[in-house]
Symmetry: C2
Subunit: 595 residues, 2 copies
């Protein structure tokens, strides 16, 4: 590749909409361009990196015996209807009609089609196990596409699916994928943590995420020194034992003027009704948070979540818990329809089973769910459903109950791990892979069974395994780049060596050309900056922005018989004779694991 | 690849919906599966053939200096609105809205996006010429998807685009693509004819199609011994000289009862008003055909086409001529709205400029267009707009005129070529490539200009070049298959050698395995039929159906030291010693152009 003709223009300015380093740099370095929100075009250098990542993924999939196929992106409604996902995906899926008014979608994932294909071809236990995969363009109509390639609306995924006769077979297929993913990320030089995860829209019994630890990641995960690791959505709060409330007197309402927040309430409680043993804290209050939910079919419902006042509701845990419904902002109209909800002073007495029987008044009593910590026998300070009044000694199980439990309070640094393996620490990460032991959900819905050795029909047990190819590219860019630009590992770089001819000397260009040719002839991928009217400074800046792992600078030093090798990642520089350049670069590439 | 684990099941029966050989065989041989009308899933063997075709295409595109990029399939409305194609494509494009109600389409082709990208990056004449391409999934909501991969709704295309400063540059880029296409089809072993074509939706001054001559092709083309070749839509009928009508008497209406067809009219004319010099023939009658058109925005209009009675209206020429409107069936309602149109007896007197002034009555006069042969001075027998009556000696230009000319009469075997190069012969073909000298249509609409050497802004001149990758695959299957199955050329076959172990003898399997391993180790791609409980007959039939170019049969003969090489395309068989098998196969592959 020659810079003089390469379809590339680097930008000095960050694109206006870009917030994260990978997004800024991939655009500035001419790897991608935005076509629409969350939808990107790939330029020559970007496409080369993408192809290299795809090759590693294919290689490891083939190595575990998975076979590549390719499904359409445009698919009819029916299979997704059969599994309920046509509805469950709500507004997250792009839907359209063809000229005959038949319903189609742009597939966000392909469980249904793989299930149907295997049903179409296979009929006996002897055909199993089977693993199939594709590297394919997927579509999701994200509410908030962000961070460039990290959360896009059109993106490339490798998705694979396993088909087994029983749970033991699924375990083996699941493990093969887990190991293949480890090898893929290892080869790509991408740091990762495997965490327990929620299955979400996918369904199934068990799932794990591969997270690339990274400040800009959307996923929060926890880990303990004892080896526990989970996505924050998957952390189950340990349920404390029930309490004996026999010593607690009857609930009593107190005037607590101007206490719409937990802080003001705690301060007031310690003044009005001080406790003997210790002062009231936020953890003694029961906070009731109103949440608006929209079902996939568009129905709106209010929900109140009751949780200890020292914890916030975690938005992502809430989203996962209410799936397939979506969380929406509450509005004035919501409160107007429920005058029993007095903002700042909401208490359980008007909610769920404690409130008006459902359907009796306009809205019926609002559904009420409790944090797992609010076990029977615990006593709380909480709203009395009247402005300026709170109720004290309101005992769970005695004075109020709920419609059920919801585990959506924030997980905090230092909380005990659910498995008792020590205190949790929190970190953020980018989800780069997600593996699911689906079980029989799809096989049942789409009637995929095979005959076992006794001639009896057995429902097939499935797994599904996703790896975000374009997101992995962004994660690598994010983790390897610096303030000067991209800095690709050799495995995925768009070229191995960036040869720069600087200055105007004919000898510089002919030597650079000669070394570039020599490298190319031995299989080294060279990007050659042969531009004649471009200053050395611009060439250096471009080279650092583009992030090819090694640069060879042929310039002023040539007169003294010296050229320079620059290591992009470390900034290291080596001077050497022109004749030594190609051998030294091949040595460096070989040390970096190439060839 | 081992048949025992390959994700493949061959079918003995043709799929119900399949009409053409390639479609039947690709499904039966387990290369593709139908997911929806005109939408296919790719199975492992199909995907391998596809990858090989794509590699050849990429190789030749790279060789002419085109650079690969990749655009989204899901694109916003705006760029297509700017060029008018959002509307022009009518129902042929899949349209959808995202969750914010913004309009999107699934791109049928990408002129707009490439134009915008080049505008985004380039600004000077020094940046040109540039050629860019992609291999990408395209979408068209075809009214009649048919013939499997030949006319699909989701399909793979290589599309490329050239950007030049002037017409001379465009000529050079166009020629490079033309030559690259020739090399691609030559390498793929696919016979083709280059014909002049209509530009259709694409616009532009000049275009040529690459057609693979084939009975099941949708395109009809003509060629003359003198070298003229054109798609039938692009044939311009030579316009005869105007006639002197001074000797022709006034038009006269005659009773012609029961003559709603040209045949009955000619017979009646020869009875009622016989001509002195020669009998009336169909060529003396003026047939007026009513056509319903629907504009891209859904407006319906009637049109009458007047042409000599010995010619039919050609549906494809009509479609091309009325683009972007679509042709629809006429209905009773159409005729009810225009009582002046008397079926079987329609004449020009009530049409177009001869009819009621537009808008005076309900529908106004119907638009009237004439075949180019109906020049001023020619006299015709035609309908008198009353059942059972025709008018004689109605002279074009004297007694009637039209709103314009439309060249949509059928082209017939033996018609003179427009360039006078001899009589035309007709043939059918599959369109496998289409190259367009677009000119400045897109660059103007999207304001793509660069500064020339004087610093003056110059609109860029473009070309666009399409090659149907999935359609090429089907065309190869169509042209190489026989009644037994597929028969791939070595270049694109999913494997080079199909090793068959037949019988139950252990030695057979170990010898077959050994030869397969030997071949694989020297880079030969082997499909090994290692299935143990499958009869030799089934293995032979599968092998012929799958169409790997060479089969090596290890079976009964092994005891006598003999194995057999079978040539799939010719049916030829060679017996040889097991030790000679691998060298002989390598020799055959090398003769076939491999490696």
């Amino acid at each position: 590749m020659r810079m003089s003709t390469l379809f590339l223009r680097t930008l000095r300015e960050d694109p206006a909409e870009a917030e994260v380093a990978s997004h800024k740099l991939l655009v500035r370095a001419g790897y991608i361009r935005r076509a629409a929100p969350g939808i990107y075009s790939w330029l020559p250098l970007g496409l080369k990196v993408l192809a290299k990542i795809e090759a590693v993924v294919r290689d490891e999939m083939d190595a575990i015996g998975a076979q590549e196929v390719h499904f359409p992106a445009l698919l009819p409604r029916e299979p997704y209807e059969a599994t309920g996902r046509w509805t469950d995906y709500g507004p997250n899926v792009f839907r359209l009609k063809d000229r005959k008014e038949a319903d189609y979608l742009l597939a966000p994932t392909h469980e249904e089609m793989f299930t149907l294909l295997v049903r179409d071809l296979y009929s006996s236990y002897k055909d199993l196990p089977a693993m199939l995969y594709q590297v394919q363009t997927k579509y999701r109509d994200e509410a908030r596409p962000r961070a460039g390639l990290i959360r896009g609306r059109e993106f490339i995924m490798k998705d694979s699916y396993s088909f087994d006769i029983d749970e033991a077979g699924l375990d083996a297929s699941y493990l093969k994928h887990r190991e293949a993913y480890r090898r893929i990320f290892d080869r790509l030089g991408l740091d990762y943590v495997i965490v327990a995860a929620e299955a979400g829209a996918m369904g199934g019994s068990r799932s794990e995420e591969f997270l690339h630890p990274c400040e800009i990641g959307e996923d929060t995960f926890v880990r303990s020194a004892g080896g526990y690791a989970a996505n924050v959505e998957a952390v189950a709060t340990p349920v404390p034992p029930e309490q004996d409330a026999s010593g607690i007197g009857p609930a009593h309402v107190e005037d607590t003027p101007d206490t719409p927040t937990i802080e003001t309430l705690v301060a007031a409680a310690n003044q009005i009704a001080p406790r003997q043993d210790q002062p009231w804290t936020a953890a003694d209050t029961l906070k009731n948070v109103v949440v608006a939910l929209v079902s996939p079919t568009g129905e709106r419902e209010l929900l109140v979540v009751g949780l200890p006042g020292d914890r916030q509701v975690d938005a992502k845990r809430l989203e996962a818990a209410v799936f397939p419904a979506e969380v929406d902002q509450t509005t004035e109209a919501d409160f107007a329809a429920h005058p029993e909800l007095v903002p700042g002073y909401i208490g359980p007495q008007v909610l769920g089973p404690n409130g008006a029987p459902r359907g009796e008044n306009a809205g019926g009593a609002v559904r009420y769910l409790l944090d797992p910590r609010v076990v029977p026998g615990t006593a709380w300070v909480t709203g009395a459903n009247e402005a300026g009044k709170h109720v004290f000694d309101l005992v769970a199980g005695r004075d109020f109950t709920a419609d059920g439990v919801i585990d959506v309070a924030e997980v905090r640094e230092g909380d005990e791990a659910p498995d008792g393996s020590g205190p949790l620490e929190l970190a953020r990460g980018i989800e780069i892979g997600h593996i699911f032991a689906l079980g029989q959900k799809y096989a049942k819905a789409l009637e995929l069974s095979v005959l076992d050795s006794n001639g009896k029909a057995v429902t097939v047990t499935m797994g599904s395994y996703g790896l975000g190819v374009t997101r992995v590219l962004a994660a690598i860019a994010e983790s390897t780049s610096d303030e000067k630009g991209l800095a690709w590992p050799v495995t995925v770089a768009p070229a191995h060596v960036h040869v720069l001819a600087t200055g105007k000397d004919e000898a510089v260009f002919s030597t650079a050309e000669q070394i570039a040719t020599e490298l190319t002839s031995t299989g080294v991928e060279v990007l050659y900056d042969d531009r004649v009217k471009v200053s050395a400074g611009v060439k250096f800046a471009d080279s650092e922005l583009l992030g090819v792992p090694y640069a060879l600078v042929v310039g002023r030093g040539l007169a003294e018989g010296v050229v320079e090798v620059r290591h992009r990642a470390t900034g290291e520089r080596e001077e050497l004779a022109p004749a030594d350049a190609a051998p030294r670069l091949r040595e460096l590439l070989s040390e970096a694991g190439l060839g």
